[in-house]
C-alpha cells in the first residue's frame, strides 16, 4: 500500500481536501482529508465515489487528427500551423480559446498568457461564463475587484443564513452539511431559502420564499429600502467606506411592490425582512439562481447593497458569498481566464494594467481590448469571424445555451482543436484535432475554491497512454508558434511561481489578488504547499480569511459602490406558443455533462434517466402523464424527457437537469432548448429561464434494457434512449415509434456481442404488447430487455442488482417478470451513496424500529451520517411513512 496523497476534489467549488491512496490492483481508496479546512474529512456522494471514475475505459489516450491517430509532434504541428495560418490570413481575432473551470490554475495561466499576450487577442472565454460571470461583474462594480469577502468559517458564525438561488444541499453538499451542523448545535440560528422551487435545500429551511422566477433583484432592492427605513444602516461604514447609497435606497421598491412582483405573501416577506434586519451576523449565499440570469449582475448588486448598508461584510458570520460551481472557477478568474479580464485580477480595459502585464510578460502583441464572451464567441464561430478554436476540458455542445447552434458553429469551423481526457463527448465528436489531456489523479497543480483557498491538486496515478498535462500542451503549442522564450516551463511549479510573481508585480496593495508570498516557492515548497487563502502578500504569507470588514475596497477611492438597480423581468416571457418556463440545474449525484460522474455506478443509481419536473396542474393542462415521455420545445431546439409530477415546482414552471448530452441519452440535451439571453454586463446566459412548451411524446413502445456491455448506438438508431452505468451493467431506457417486425430478432440485434452457449429466455404477451427477453451465460445474467406499450413496469434497481450476482438461478423464473420473486432481496433505489443504502432498506428500518427523525435513521442504519446530502431524501421517506395508513 502506497502512502496517501493529499489532493482536492475535482467537482464543485467547495474544494474539499481528499486523501487518495493507490491500493493493489489499481483500486484507489478515496477519503476526505481531515486536515483540509474546507471539509475537515467529510466528502459528499460525488467525492466519495471518485474511485469509481478512474478507469481508463473511454479515455482519450492518443492524439487524433480527424479519424487517424497521429503522434504528438504531428498533432502539435497541425495545430500550430493551423492557428498560425488563421492569424496570418484573418488576424488574431479569428482565433479563440474556450476553456474551463476544470483546468488547474497553471494550465489556465499559460493558456491565457499565450492567447492574450502572444497571439494578440482576448478571445479566450471559459465555461465559468455560464457559472459565475455575474458574480464577478457584481463584485467588480461594488468592490473594484472580483473579491469574495468572507470565508467558510462564517457559516459556523452566522445567526442567519440566507440561501438564494442555490440548491446547496445537492450542489455544495459539504457546505450545506456545515450549515446543518451549525444549526443543529445552535437551534436558534435561522436558515432562509429563497428559490422558486421547493428544493431539498428549501425543505431544510426555517423559511422558504418561493419567489417568482427572476424576481430576486426586486426582493433585495426592497430589503435595502426596508433596512434603511428600519434603522439598520451602519452609518459609520456607509459614510467611511462606500458611495452612492442614497441613490440605491431611493430606487428601493415598497414592500407591497415587492410582495406583488415576487409573488410572495406579505407576512412571509415581512418575516424575512425582519429576520434580516434583526440579525447582525447574516450571510447571503447565492449561486446559479442569481448568476444565470439576464439580470444576474443586478441581482448580485442588490444582494451586496444590503450587506454594504448594514456593514455586514467581511466580519465573522456576515457577508455576501458567491458559491462557485467549479473546482477552479476562482483560479480561472485569478489568472484572467475570462475574455474581459487581463491577468491576476487586472483589467484589460485599463491601459496601465495592460502596460504592466505587457512588461511583465515581455509580450508586445498583448491584446488591447476585451475578447468575445462565450455566447458571442460561439456566435462569431458560426458567422465565420472565428476560424480556429481550441476547446480545453469542457463540453460546450452540451453545456452552452442554444447548443444546437454551438454544434452547428463548430461543425462549420475550419479548425476545432479539443483537448480533453475523455474520448467521446458531444464536443470531441465535432473536433478536427483531439489532444489527450491528463485527468484528475494524474495532473498536478493548484485550484482555488469559493473562499479564495488555494489548494494543491496532486497526482497519484501515472499518466496513461500519451496523455499530457494541459500546461504542457499549451507550452508546446506556444513554442511551435515561436514563443519559446516566454514559455520555458518544464514543471507546473515554475508556472505557479510566475503567476504569483505577476500577482505581486507593482501591486502594493492596489489589487486584491496578491499571492506574492508564494512567488519564491521552490519545487519542494510547491509540492508541500498546504491550503492558503489569498490575498497572501509578502507581508502576510499565512493568507487572509476576510476582506473589507474595515473597508479597503479596490476602487480608486477605496470605497465600495452601491448600485441603484431596477428590477427587470427575465429576457423572454412565456407566450401562447411557449407557455411554460424551463429552469435547469444540477442533480445531487451528477456533475456537468457526466463525462466523469456518469462513469460511477453509485452516482448513476440516484437518477439514471433524464427527466422534466412538472407541476401537477400543468401536467393536467398539457396532458403530461406521470412517467410518460414528453417533448420539450423552445424556439431554439427540443429534447425528450421523462415526465415527473411534483408540487415542488411552481405552476407554469418546469425543471430539467442540465447533465445529459448525447453520450448518455439520444434526445435529452437540454442545452439545445435553453435560450442564451445573456446579461448585458456579465455576458452570463439566462440558463434558468426559457419559455417552452411540452407535448406528450407519442410513442408506440418503450423498453428497459440492462446489459453487461454497452450497446452499439447504431443498433438503437431511430429510437429515443438514455443510458446509465450500473454495477457490472449498463441500463437503458428506450422508446420508439417504429415497431420492429420481430422483437426477438431486435433483441438479438441490440444485445452486444453475440454469445455462444448463451441461454435465451423469452416472455411474449402479444395482446398486451409486452415482450421480454433475457440472455444468460451459465447462471449469470448477461442482458435483459423489457418492452411494453408504456414505460415498462419493472423493478429496475432489482434487475440491475442481478448483474452483480454470480448466479441468478433462484430468480430465473422471476427474472422475466421484472419483479423480485419470493426470497429475493430488493434494496430499492439508492438513497445513501456513502453507506450504499437503498430506499427499501431504509423504509424497512423506519417501519421496523419506528424511527421518526433523520438522525434516528442515521443511528439505526448509517444512512445520511457522512456527507449528509441524502438527508432530505431520508426526510421524505420518513414523511411518506407517516402518511401511510396505519396497518
Amino acid at each position: 500500500m502506497e502512502p496517501a496523497v493529499k489532493t482536492t476534489c475535482p467537482y464543485c467549488g467547495v474544494g474539499c481536501g481528499i486523501r487518495a491512496r493507490r491500493g493493489s490492483e489499481g483500486a484507489v481508496e478515496i477519503a476526505g482529508d481531515p486536515d483540509h479546512p474546507a471539509n475537515r474529512g467529510r466528502l459528499c456522494s460525488k467525492g466519495t465515489t471518485l474511485g469509481e471514475t478512474l478507469g481508463l475505459n473511454g479515455r482519450l489516450l492518443h492524439p487524433r487528427w480527424r479519424t487517424e491517430r497521429v503522434s504528438w509532434d504531428r498533432a502539435l504541428d497541425i495545430a500550430a500551423s493551423g492557428i498560425g495560418r488563421v492569424i496570418r490570413e484573418h488576424g488574431p481575432d479569428a482565433v479563440a480559446f474556450y476553456v474551463s473551470g476544470q483546468l488547474l490554475t497553471e494550465d489556465y495561466y499559460v493558456a491565457n498568457k499565450l492567447i492574450k499576450g502572444f497571439l494578440g487577442t482576448a478571445n479566450i472565454d471559459t465555461n465559468s461564463r455560464l457559472c459565475m460571470a455575474s458574480s464577478v461583474a457584481g463584485h467588480r462594480r461594488a468592490f473594484g475587484a472580483d473579491t469574495v469577502p468572507g470565508c467558510y468559517a462564517d457559516l459556523e458564525a452566522a445567526d442567519l443564513i440566507v440561501l438564494v438561488g442555490s440548491n446547496t444541499a445537492w450542489c455544495h453538499p459539504i457546505l450545506f452539511d456545515r450549515i446543518r451542523r451549525a444549526k443543529a448545535a445552535h437551534p436558534e440560528r435561522r436558515l432562509v431559502v429563497i428559490d422558486p422551487r421547493r428544493t431539498p435545500t428549501a425543505d431544510a429551511g426555517d423559511l422558504h420564499l418561493a419567489l417568482a422566477a427572476g424576481s430576486d433583484t426586486l426582493l433585495f432592492a426592497g430589503l435595502l429600502g426596508y433596512l434603511s427605513a428600519n434603522g439598520c444602516t451602519d452609518y459609520r461604514f456607509v459614510t467611511t467606506h462606500t458611495r452612492d447609497a442614497d441613490a440605491a435606497i431611493a430606487a428601493a421598491p415598497s414592500l407591497k411592490t415587492v410582495a406583488e412582483g415576487c409573488g410572495l405573501d406579505l407576512a412571509q416577506l415581512q418575516r424575512f425582512y425582519d429576520w434580516f434586519a434583526a440579525t447582525d451576523r447574516v450571510m447571503t449565499l447565492y449561486s446559479q439562481g442569481i448568476n444565470q440570469s439576464s439580470s444576474g449582475t443586478d441581482k448580485v448588486s442588490a444582494i451586496i447593497n444590503c450587506h454594504l448598508l448594514t456593514g455586514r461584510i467581511g466580519k465573522p458570520g456576515s457577508g455576501p458569498f458567491s458559491l462557485t460551481g467549479q473546482p477552479n472557477a476562482m483560479g480561472g478568474r485569478e489568472v484572467g481566464g475570462l475574455a474581459n479580464q487581463l491577468a491576476a485580477h487586472m483589467e484589460i480595459d485599463d491601459p496601465r494594467h495592460r502596460d504592466r502585464v505587457r512588461r511583465f510578460w515581455q509580450a508586445p502583441a498583448l491584446a488591447e481590448r476585451a475578447g468575445l464572451k462565450a455566447v458571442d464567441l460561439f456566435g462569431a464561430i458560426e458567422d465565420g469571424g472565428i476560424r480556429a478554436v481550441w476547446i480545453m476540458s469542457t463540453n460546450p455542445v452540451v453545456s452552452m445555451p442554444e447548443a444546437d447552434r454551438v454544434r452547428r458553429a463548430l461543425e462549420r469551423c475550419p479548425l476545432v482543436i479539443v483537448s480533453d481526457c475523455i474520448a467521446d463527448t458531444d464536443t470531441t465528436r465535432v473536433a478536427d484535432l483531439l489532444l489527450p489531456a491528463l485527468a484528475w489523479g494524474e495532473k498536478d497543480g493548484t485550484v482555488t475554491n469559493s473562499e479564495r483557498l488555494i489548494s494543491r491538486q496532486r497526482a497519484f496515478l501515472d499518466p496513461p497512454g500519451e496523455a499530457r498535462a494541459d500546461w504542457w500542451i499549451v507550452t508546446q503549442m506556444a513554442r511551435r508558434l515561436g514563443f519559446a522564450d516566454a514559455f520555458p516551463y518544464e514543471t507546473p511549479a515554475e508556472i505557479f511561481r510566475e503567476h504569483a510573481q505577476l500577482s505581486g508585480f507593482e501591486n502594493d496593495g492596489s489589487r486584491d489578488f496578491d499571492i506574492a508570498a508564494l512567488a519564491a516557492l521552490d519545487r519542494e515548497g510547491y509540492d508541500a504547499l498546504g491550503p492558503v487563502q489569498w490575498p497572501a502578500p509578502r507581508e502576510r504569507p499565512a493568507g487572509t480569511p476576510r476582506l473589507f470588514g474595515d473597508g479597503g475596497f479596490f476602487t480608486a477611492d477605496r470605497r465600495a459602490r452601491f448600485i441603484a438597480v431596477a428590477w427587470r423581468p427575465p429576457r423572454h416571457a412565456p407566450s401562447a406558443d411557449f407557455p411554460l418556463v424551463l429552469n435547469t440545474g444540477r442533480l445531487r449525484d451528477q456533475w456537468h455533462t457526466m463525462t466523469r460522474s456518469g462513469r460511477s455506478p453509485s452516482l448513476a443509481a440516484h437518477e439514471p434517466e433524464p427527466f422534466v419536473t412538472v407541476h401537477p396542474a400543468d401536467a393536467e393542462a398539457f396532458s403530461l402523464e406521470e412517467g410518460a415521455l414528453a417533448e420539450i420545445v423552445s424556439s431554439h431546439g427540443s429534447a425528450v424527457l421523462r415526465v415527473r409530477h411534483s408540487s415542488e415546482q411552481a405552476p407554469g414552471h418546469v425543471f430539467a437537469p442540465m447533465h445529459w448530452g448525447t453520450t448518455h441519452a439520444s434526445d435529452a440535451r437540454i442545452g439545445a432548448v435553453v435560450n442564451a439571453a445573456p446579461d448585458p454586463i456579465s455576458g452570463q446566459p439566462e440558463l434558468k429561464h426559457t419559455p417552452v412548451r411540452l407535448l406528450p411524446h407519442r410513442l408506440r413502445w418503450q423498453a428497459f434494457l440492462a446489459t453487461r456491455r454497452r450497446v452499439d448506438p447504431a443498433a438503437l438508431s431511430g429510437t429515443s434512449f438514455a443510458l446509465a452505468v450500473a454495477n457490472g451493467a449498463w441500463r437503458y431506457e428506450i422508446a420508439g415509434i417504429e415497431t420492429p417486425p420481430s422483437w426477438a430478432d431486435w433483441a438479438q440485434r441490440i444485445f452486444p456481442e453475440p454469445r455462444r452457449n448463451a441461454d435465451w429466455l423469452s416472455y411474449e404477451d402479444r395482446g398486451a404488447g409486452i415482450f421480454r427477453f433475457a440472455r444468460l451465460v451459465g447462471d449469470r445474467l448477461d442482458a435483459c430487455l423489457f418492452v411494453a406499450p408504456q414505460h415498462p413496469a419493472v423493478r429496475r434497481d432489482w434487475l440491475v442488482s442481478l448483474f452483480a450476482l454470480g448466479s441468478i438461478a433462484p430468480q430465473r423464473l422471476a427474472l422475466l417478470s421484472g419483479q423480485p420473486g419470493p426470497g429475493a432481496s430488493d434494496k430499492g433505489k439508492l438513497v445513501c451513496v456513502c453507506a450504499t443504502l437503498g430506499s427499501r432498506v431504509i423504509e424497512e428500518a423506519i417501519a421496523r424500529e419506528h424511527l421518526d427523525t433523520v438522525d434516528a435513521v442515521g443511528a439505526a442504519t448509517g444512512a445520511g451520517v457522512n456527507c449528509g446530502s441524502c438527508r432530505p431524501e431520508i426526510a421524505l421517506l420518513l414523511r411518506r411513512n407517516r402518511e401511510l395508513p396505519a396497518a
Binding site: 441461454d759 435465451w760 429466455l761 423469452s762 416472455y763 411474449e764 404477451d765 402479444r766 395482446g767 398486451a768 409486452i770 413496469a793 430465473r812 423464473l813 422471476a814 422475466l816 417478470s817 419483479q819 420473486g821 419470493p822
Partner: protein
C-alpha cells in the same frame, strides 16, 4: 326397506359414486355392482406406473374385496352387464345374473379406438385400457424386442415410456406433427419430444400407419410412405370413445356419450351416468378430475339431497412419465378471440403458455415447471378476472401482487 342401487361398471367413476354416497347416506341403499373385469376397483391412472415398473398391482387397487364386504356391497366380478329392462328396472349380466334397481348408475367408461386398418386383429396388437392390457404388454416385453406405439397422445406416450422402461425398443408413430396435440402446442410438443428422445424413445411423425403386417402375430407396421417398422408388439393408442353400447341398446338418449343433465341424470329418471361414458353440456371427459366431480354430484342426488349441480369440468392433464413435468388445462389451441402469453426458457426446458379470453384464463400449458398448475387450474375453474395482474400471471401465485385473485374467496 332399503332401496336398491345398481352400478354398472366397477371403475373409478362408479366406485367414486358409491364412496360419496356411503359418506352421505350409508344406509339408504342396497348396492350391487357389475364388473366386467376380474378385479376390484383400481386406479386406472396408475396403469402407466404399473407398466413402467414404478408401481405394483396391489399399489393401484383402490378397494379390495374386504371393502365391498364391509359395506355390504354385492360385487359381480367378471360379469359384464349386457341388458337392462327399463320397465322392470332390472340389469342382466352375460351369465344371466340379474339385479333389480330403484336407481341405476351407468359407469361403463370408454373403449380404445382401434382404427380400421388391415391387421388390427393380429396377435400382439392391443390397446391400453386395463390391467389385462398391461399384463399383455409385460408378457410381450419379456419375449420381444420391438414395440410400436401408434398414437402420440397422453396414453400412447405413457405406454411407450413404460415399454421402454421394460427394455423394449419403442417407436412412436404419430399422425400429427405435434405430440399430445390435444393438450400441447407445437413448442411444448417439441420440448416434450426432445426430452423423451433423450430418454431413448424414437418418434416417427407425422406418419400414418396404413397396415399392421404379420401372419398370426404382428411383425411390422407399414406407413403410408412405404416405410416398414419392425414390431413385435403394437399398442394402439389413438384415442378413446365412450362405451355406450348398452345404453344405446336400451334406448337411452345418447350422442357421443350418454346424455345427462347437470345432476348427471340421463333421460330415464331412474338412470344416472357418470365418467367417461357420460356426456354433459355436450362434452365427454377422459380424465380423472372431472369424473370425481361428476361422482360427487351424482351421489348428492342419489342421497336425496338434490342440491348439487355439475357445471362441466376443466380438462386438465399431466403426463405420468417420470422426470417430465407437464401440465395442460383448458383450451390450449386458442381461438380468434383469445390471446396468449408465452414464457420460454429452452435451455432449462421450461415452457409456459397461458391462453386468455375476456380477461380470464382459458387455457394453460406448463412444461418443465408445473409448480403453479393448481393455481392456474383454480383460476380457470373460478373464471377469475386476471386483468389486474395479467403482467404477473405467468410467474405464479407466490408473487405478492398476484397471490390473491379476487374471484377466489
Amino acid at each position: 326397506m332399503r332401496r336398491k342401487l345398481v352400478v354398472v361398471g366397477n371403475g373409478m367413476a362408479g366406485m367414486r359414486v358409491v364412496e360419496e354416497l356411503l359418506r352421505l347416506a350409508p344406509d339408504l341403499y342396497d348396492i350391487t355392482v357389475f364388473s366386467g373385469e376380474p378385479y376390484g376397483n383400481y386406479n386406472r391412472i396408475l396403469l402407466s406406473p404399473l407398466l413402467a415398473g414404478e408401481a405394483r398391482v396391489d399399489d393401484i387397487l383402490l378397494q379390495d374385496d374386504e371393502w365391498y364386504r364391509a359395506h355390504r356391497i354385492t360385487l359381480f366380478k367378471g360379469k359384464p352387464a349386457v341388458a337392462i329392462d327399463r320397465a322392470l328396472r332390472e340389469v342382466r349380466a352375460a351369465d344371466g345374473t340379474t339385479a333389480r334397481y330403484d336407481r341405476l348408475v351407468l359407469a361403463t367408461g370408454s373403449l380404445p379406438i382401434i382404427p380400421p386398418i388391415p391387421g388390427a386383429h393380429l396377435e400382439g396388437v392391443i390397446g391400453f385400457r386395463d390391467i389385462g392390457d398391461v399384463r399383455r404388454m409385460l408378457a410381450a416385453a419379456r419375449r420381444y424386442e420391438y414395440a410400436v406405439v401408434i398414437g402420440g397422445g397422453l396414453l400412447g406416450l405413457e405406454a411407450a415410456h413404460g415399454l421402454m422402461r421394460r427394455g423394449m425398443t419403442v417407436r412412436v408413430v404419430q399422425l400429427m406433427p405435434t405430440l399430445m396435440e390435444q393438450q400441447l402446442d407445437a413448442d411444448a410438443g417439441g420440448l416434450l419430444r426432445r426430452s423423451l428422445e433423450a430418454r431413448g424413445l424414437s418418434f416417427i411423425m407425422p406418419a400414418e400407419t396404413v397396415e399392421i403386417c404379420g401372419n398370426e402375430r404382428v411383425t411390422d407396421v407399414r406407413l403410408r410412405d412405404g416405410r416398414e417398422i419392425p414390431a413385435d408388439l403394437v399398442v394402439v393408442a389413438v384415442g378413446i370413445r365412450p362405451n355406450i353400447a348398452l345404453a344405446r341398446a336400451v334406448g337411452l338418449h345418447c350422442r357421443r356419450g350418454i346424455v345427462v343433465d347437470s345432476t348427471m341424470l340421463s333421460f330415464d329418471p331412474s338412470i344416472y351416468a357418470v365418467g367417461e361414458c357420460a356426456e354433459s353440456h355436450g362434452r365427454t371427459y377422459g380424465l380423472v378430475a372431472p369424473l370425481y366431480e361428476q361422482a360427487k354430484v351424482c351421489a348428492n342426488h342419489l342421497a336425496g339431497w338434490g342440491c348439487a349441480r355439475y357445471p362441466g369440468s376443466l380438462a386438465a392433464a399431466s403426463l405420468k412419465v417420470t422426470g417430465v413435468e407437464l401440465f395442460s388445462a383448458g383450451n390450449v389451441a386458442g381461438s380468434e378471440d383469445s390471446e396468449s402469453i408465452v414464457l420460454h426458457d429452452p435451455s432449462r426446458g421450461v415452457y409456459r403458455k397461458l391462453i386468455l379470453r375476456d380477461n380470464r384464463l382459458a387455457g394453460a400449458v406448463l412444461y418443465g415447471d408445473t409448480a403453479d398448475s393448481a393455481w392456474y387450474a383454480r383460476l380457470m375453474r373460478d373464471r377469475a378476472d386476471v386483468s389486474e395482474f395479467r403482467d404477473r400471471l405467468m410467474f405464479g401465485p407466490l408473487s405478492p401482487e398476484a397471490s390473491a385473485p379476487r374471484a377466489v374467496a
